[in-house]
Subunit: 124 residues, 2 copies
DNA sequence: AGATCTGTTATACTATTAATATAACAGGTA
DNA sequence: TACCTGTTATATTAATAGTATAACAGATCT
């Protein structure tokens, strides 16, 4: 699984890292039980500091995407609290849908976009 | 239209301000042609600095939600570039949908949540 | 036992951003 | 003229992002 950081982005490196790993899980490039590179290893690959990787991993742990083990390092382990997950989804979507409504995007158009993205993910 | 700032939030004040105004437009509490309070006025109402309000207004202007006029102040004026708007929508949705897929939320469930939020907005 | 890997913690430094505080300027309005 | 707009400039404080070293505790392997 490739990890690509845009150093010119205004998005924090550890956030980019977090998002890419979530993409990786969503597209099945990495799966439950797989382990991520160690913080030091990934830091060297990407060319950033160990602590920045550690921050990304800690967030992923806190959000229930990985478990951290001294032996194996970071292991993909999805902790599903579905009700809570749907609540968070709703909260995230509110801002985005408000923006869409302002821009005259219809409900149907949003559904179409959703399906498109889903297909992107399914293709990997 | 009420504006409520959570000073304990980790979200920047000017972002909260921007989002609330977008909510206001989406729910028709404020409409095309309406003018927002002046930067100094809103700053006093909310209890924050003028520049923080100005930053929010500048972003809203840049994003095509308002026009700034020396006479009337900030006026709601949606600048719709729909193709671009849909592209931005897509980009915003990718991360959120990836998270949803990881959490085992189905495509159908997302569609349902979308409809729920749409109904929320329609009710005001 | 000893070397080596893991995450974890601590400390320090720099750069950037968020937010505030004053102040002034230019244009429109009454 | 007085007063309202947004705008710009400058300065300060606080928080965050990222880097840099260093050390510690547990697990693994030779």
């Amino acid at each position: 699984m490739y990890v690509k950081i845009d150093f010119n982005s205004d998005e924090a490196i550890y956030i980019q890292l977090r998002n890419q790993i979530i993409y990786g899980i969503a597209t099945s490039q990495i799966q439950e039980g797989d382990n991520l590179p160690s913080v030091r290893e990934l830091a060297e690959i990407v060319g950033i500091n160990m602590h920045t990787v550690n921050k990304a991993y800690s967030i992923l742990k806190q959000e229930g995407y990985v478990k951290l083990d001294r032996r194996k390092g970071a292991v993909i382990a999805i902790d599903i609290d579905k009700l809570q997950a749907i609540e968070q989804l709703k909260e995230s979507l509110r801002v985005i849908l408000a923006e869409a409504i302002c821009k005259n995007i219809s409900c149907r158009e949003i559904h179409e976009v959703i399906d498109q993205i889903y297909q992107e993910f399914e293709r990997g």
